[in-house]
Symmetry: D2
Subunit: 297 residues, 4 copies
C-alpha cells in the first residue's frame, strides 16, 4: 500500500492592485484583490523538491501588475480570463488556472457643481463584486457574484407550520425581521474562453439588482423560500446564466420581552444577536444547465 499525491494547486493570493485611469477631465479607480491558483504537473515539486515545473507565486504577482499596465483592467471577469489563459497557454506544466478577483467599489465624492474629479469614498451598498474563472486550456467557466451585501426586511417574514420534536420550543411567528448577509455566485452558461464574449458589466448590474429586488418583493415563509426566490428571479431575467448559488446566514433579531416592565412590544424593539445564527445554502439552476466542472471549486 502506497501513499500518493492527490489534488493540489498553488498560487499567489490577495494581490491588491489599484489602477487609476487618468482621463483628461476626471479619474477612475479600479481596486482589486486578485488570487491565482495553478495546477498541473506538480508531483516532482511535492515529492522530490524539484521546482523546475513550478512558476513562482512571485511571478504570478508580477503578471497581475504587468497585465494591469499593458491591457488595463476592464470588467473583472475579462481580466480574470486573460490572466487564466496566460498561465495555462504559456506553461506546459500548468494544466488549469483558477483566478478569483474581488472588486471594491468607489463612489465619486459629491460636491456642489460637478462632483470631485479625483476623490472617492468606498461604496457600501454595492458590497464586494466577485468573479471566479477556471480555465483548462479549452473552456473558461465563469462565476460572477457578490458578497458582504447586508440586507434587512423589517416585516413581511413569517415562520410557522414547521416540524417539531420533543426538543422544539420555538414559537410560531407571523411577523419577524429577516436579515442576512448575501454571498452569491451565478454561473455563466457560455464556456468559451473569449474574454469579451459577454457584457459583464450589465450582466452583473442586472443580476445583483434582481437579487435585491427578489429579497424585497418576496413575502417570506422561510429564508429557504427567499433564497429560492432570489435564485429563480435572477435566472428568469438573465438568459446568459444557468445556475445561482447562495449562502444566506439568518441574522436573528429577537423582539425584546418588555412585559417585566409593564410594556408591550409589537415588533418595534429588537436585539440583534451575533451567534448562533441560521445558515441556508442552496443552488438554483436550469434543467438544461451544462455540467459545472470545476466552476465552483
Amino acid at each position: 500500500m502506497g501513499i500518493k499525491l492527490g489534488a493540489n494547486r498553488y498560487g499567489k493570493a490577495e494581490t491588491r492592485v489599484v489602477v487609476v485611469r487618468r482621463h483628461p477631465d476626471r479619474h477612475e479607480v479600479k481596486d482589486l484583490n486578485v488570487s491565482v491558483a495553478l495546477s498541473g504537473d506538480m508531483a516532482d515539486a511535492h515529492i522530490s523538491g524539484d521546482n523546475s515545473k513550478v512558476l513562482p507565486t512571485d511571478t504570478q504577482k508580477n503578471t497581475v501588475f504587468v497585465f494591469a499596465r499593458k491591457y488595463g483592467i476592464g470588467e473583472i471577469e475579462e481580466f480574470a480570463i486573460i490572466l487564466a489563459k496566460h498561465f495555462v497557454d504559456s506553461q506546459l506544466s500548468v494544466y488549469q488556472a483558477r483566478v478569483a478577483i474581488d472588486e471594491y467599489a468607489w463612489d465619486r465624492i459629491v460636491l456642489p457643481g460637478d462632483g470631485a474629479v479625483h476623490s472617492f469614498s468606498r461604496s457600501g451598498t454595492a458590497a464586494v463584486r466577485t468573479a471566479v474563472v477556471h480555465y483548462d486550456g479549452t473552456k473558461a467557466h465563469v462565476v460572477s457574484g457578490i458578497k458582504d451585501l447586508i440586507l434587512i426586511n423589517s416585516t413581511g417574514s413569517e415562520f410557522w407550520g414547521f416540524l417539531t420534536d420533543e426538543l422544539t420550543t420555538l414559537k410560531e411567528t407571523h411577523d419577524r425581521i429577516l436579515s442576512t448577509v448575501v454571498t452569491a455566485g451565478w454561473r455563466h452558461t457560455d464556456n468559451t474562453a473569449d474574454p469579451h464574449r459577454t457584457d459583464w458589466a450589465s450582466s452583473f448590474r442586472e443580476a445583483s439588482h434582481h437579487l435585491l429586488a427578489a429579497f424585497a418583493d418576496t413575502h417570506s415563509y422561510s429564508l429557504q423560500q427567499t433564497l429560492y426566490a432570489m435564485g429563480t428571479r435572477v435566472l428568469d431575467r438573465r438568459p446568459e446564466l444557468c445556475e445561482v448559488r447562495l449562502e444566506l446566514p439568518n441574522k436573528h433579531h429577537f423582539a425584546v420581552d418588555l412585559t417585566p416592565f409593564g410594556l408591550d412590544n409589537s415588533n418595534e424593539v429588537f436585539i440583534a444577536a451575533d451567534r448562533p445564527y441560521g445558515l441556508m445554502e442552496g443552488s438554483v439552476l436550469r434543467d438544461d444547465a451544462p455540467d459545472a466542472g470545476q466552476a465552483w471549486s
Copy 2:
C-alpha cells in the same frame, strides 16, 4: 506606603438595539450599538466585594431597550443624553455616565416605482455615525463623529521638502495617491443637558459633508495638512462646534516598478499595502473653546 483604587468605570458594552418605526406607508430602521460606562462611589465593590452601590450591567442593558420602547430613538446624541441623565440622576452612587453609540445606516432598496417600503441594504458611504456623551449631573459634553469612512484621492497629493537624516531613503514625490480611513469626532460647545438643544441630524450631515469636501478640495502637501484642512473647514462652517479630533492612517499605495519588464508606470498601477502605515492624529480647535473636561475620555 499604601495601595489605592484609582480612576475606574464599568458598564454594559455593545448592546445591539434595532428599532423599527412602523409608519402606515413605510418602515424606518434605527440600528444602534450602545455602550454605557458608569463611575462614582464604587470603592466598596472593588475593595470589599460589597455590591450595594453597583447597578448591574444587566440593568443598564434593560434600560436601553425600555427607553427605546418608551421614548423611541431619535438622533443618537439625544438618546445618549437621555440615557446618561437617567443613570446619574436616579442613582446616588453614580456620579458620572458615559454613553457611546454607534449607528449603522440603512438605505431603502430601490425598486421600480416607489422603492421598497420595508426593505433596506446596509449603507457604506455614510460609514458609521458615532456619538459620545459624558454627563456629570450638570453638564453633558457631546462629541459627535464618524468612523470607518474610507477615502482616496487618486492625485492632488505631494510629499517633498521633508527633514532627512542618514537613515532617510524616501524619494520626494509630486504626485501620489492619498488614501485614509477617517475616524473623526467633533465637540459641541454647548454643554447643557437638554437632549433637544441642537438639531443633531443637520449638524452631523453638514459636519461630515465638510470633512469629505475638505478631503476632496485640498491639494495636499502632507496628510497632516489635509487633517488640519478637514478640521478647519468643519469649524469654519459649523458655529456650534469648538473642536475636531481626527485619526487618519496613511494607507500607502505604492506605484509598482515595471521597468524590469520594459514598461513605464506614470502613476497608473499601484499596490495597496497593509502594514506598516502612517498614522496622523491631531486636534483642531477654536481659540476660545471651553475646557473639554472628560469629553474625549
Copy 3:
C-alpha cells in the same frame, strides 16, 4: 426549459456551548463551537413556503445543549457523530447531517503547589481542534483536524531551480524563513457510525504531533514539499487515517535590504508581510483510500 432546486442544506451555525465537568477535586472545561447542517426532502420549503418538513434551527441549537447535558461531551468526533445520527435517525425528512465542531483548548493555570483547580487560560500552541462528521443514515465519514496553528522555521528552507518566464524577477534562495498557518484535516478510513469506534483523543494528539514534527524535520525546497512531507508522515504513522488535506499559506518574511545604510544582513532582520501571500493546497492519500463521498464538503 424549467428552473429547479439544486443541492441545499440548512442548519444552526456556531452554537457556543461550554461544559464544566465538576469533579470533587478539580474542574475540567470543554469549550466548543458547534455547527449543524441538514439536507433531505426540503423542496417544499424552498418552493411553496411549506415548512412541515423543516426542523427549526432553533431546535438544533436546543439539541446541542440537551445532548451536552444528557451525554456529556467527550471527544468532539464522538459528540458530532451522536448529534448527526440523532437528526437523521429521528426525522424522515432529513437524509443527511453535517456536524462541524471547533474545540478551543484551555490550560490549567500553574500555581505554586498543585495548580489551579478551576482556573484556566486559553491555550495557543494547541490551536483549534476541529472535527467534521457527515452521516447519511448508514455511514459516518469523520474528518479530524486542526486550524490556526502558526509555525515558523527560521532556516532550513530553500527555493531555487524554479520555472522562469519573461516576467520572473524572483532571486533563488538557499536560506529563507518558512512560516505558515496550518489548516489541516485528516480522514478516518472507518466509516461505521459507532461514536466509540476510535480512540479519538490519541488519534488527534498523535496526528497533530506528526504534522508539527514533519514541519520541523523537513529540510524544505518548497512549501509544496513540506506540505507533502506533513501529509505523508501522518499517514505513515497513523494506520486509521487514509487522507490528509492541507491548506498552507506562505507567510512571506523578506530579509530587509540594509545596504543603503552600510550594513549587511545575513538573514537576521526580516519584515513580515501581510499580502499577497502564497497559498498551497494539497491532498495526500493512500492508494487504497475509500471514496471520500461528502466527507470534505
Copy 4:
C-alpha cells in the same frame, strides 16, 4: 475668534520586524510589531504644508530595521527606549516620542530528543506582551503589559447584593463562570532614560504571573473585585511598579435553562455570549506614585 492646531502626533505604525538570532546550536526568534509616534514643532506642516521639520514615517520604519540589526533586540522595553531616545535626541523639531511594541511569543517545537533547533509554534498562553515608552528628552515613562490573555474560572464567582431599580431583572447568583480577556499595563516608577536600568524580562514574567495567580486565587464577588485584586497583587509583589491599569470585559456565560426538557442544569452547561458584555476598567496605584505624565496616552 481664531482656529488653531491642538495636540498632535504622527508616525509609522505597525512595522512588523522579525529577528532571528543564529546561535551555533540553535536559533531564537523575536517577533515584534513596532509603532512610533512623534510630536514637536509640527505647526508648519499642518498649516502651510511646509515639511521641513517632518521626519518621514518611512525613515522611522528604516530606523526600526537598522537598529534591530545594529543593536539586536533584547527586551522590548529596552528597544523602545533606544528608539524613542534616538528620535528626540537627534532631531530638534521632535520634542517627544512614543514607541509602542507588541511582542508575539514563539515556543520551540517539542521533538523526541532535544527539541527543534529552528522550528517554533506561536504561543498562546503567553498572549501578547506589550510595552509603551514615552520619552521627552529627559524622562522615559515605561508601561509594560499584556493583552489578549483569555481567562476563565469555572466557579468561585458570585454576584449578589447589588443595587436594584425598577428595571432590574437580574437574579442574584452564588456560583457563576467568570471569564475575561485581559488587557493590562503596569507603570514602572523609575523614569530615567537608561534602557538597561531594569531587568525587564523578570519584571514582565513575575508581573504577568501575579495577574494570573490573583485571577485564580480570588474568590470573586464581582469582576471589579477581581480587577482590584489583580492590580493589588502585582503592586504588592513588584516594588519597581507604581500603577496597574486593567481593562476586563465580562464575557458572559449563561447557564442554559433545560427545564423545558425535564432536565436540571447545576452549572454544567453554558452558552458563551458575544454581545453585549460587561466592561470593567480601573486603575490601582500606590499612594506615592509619581505623576503619570503622558505615560498612558
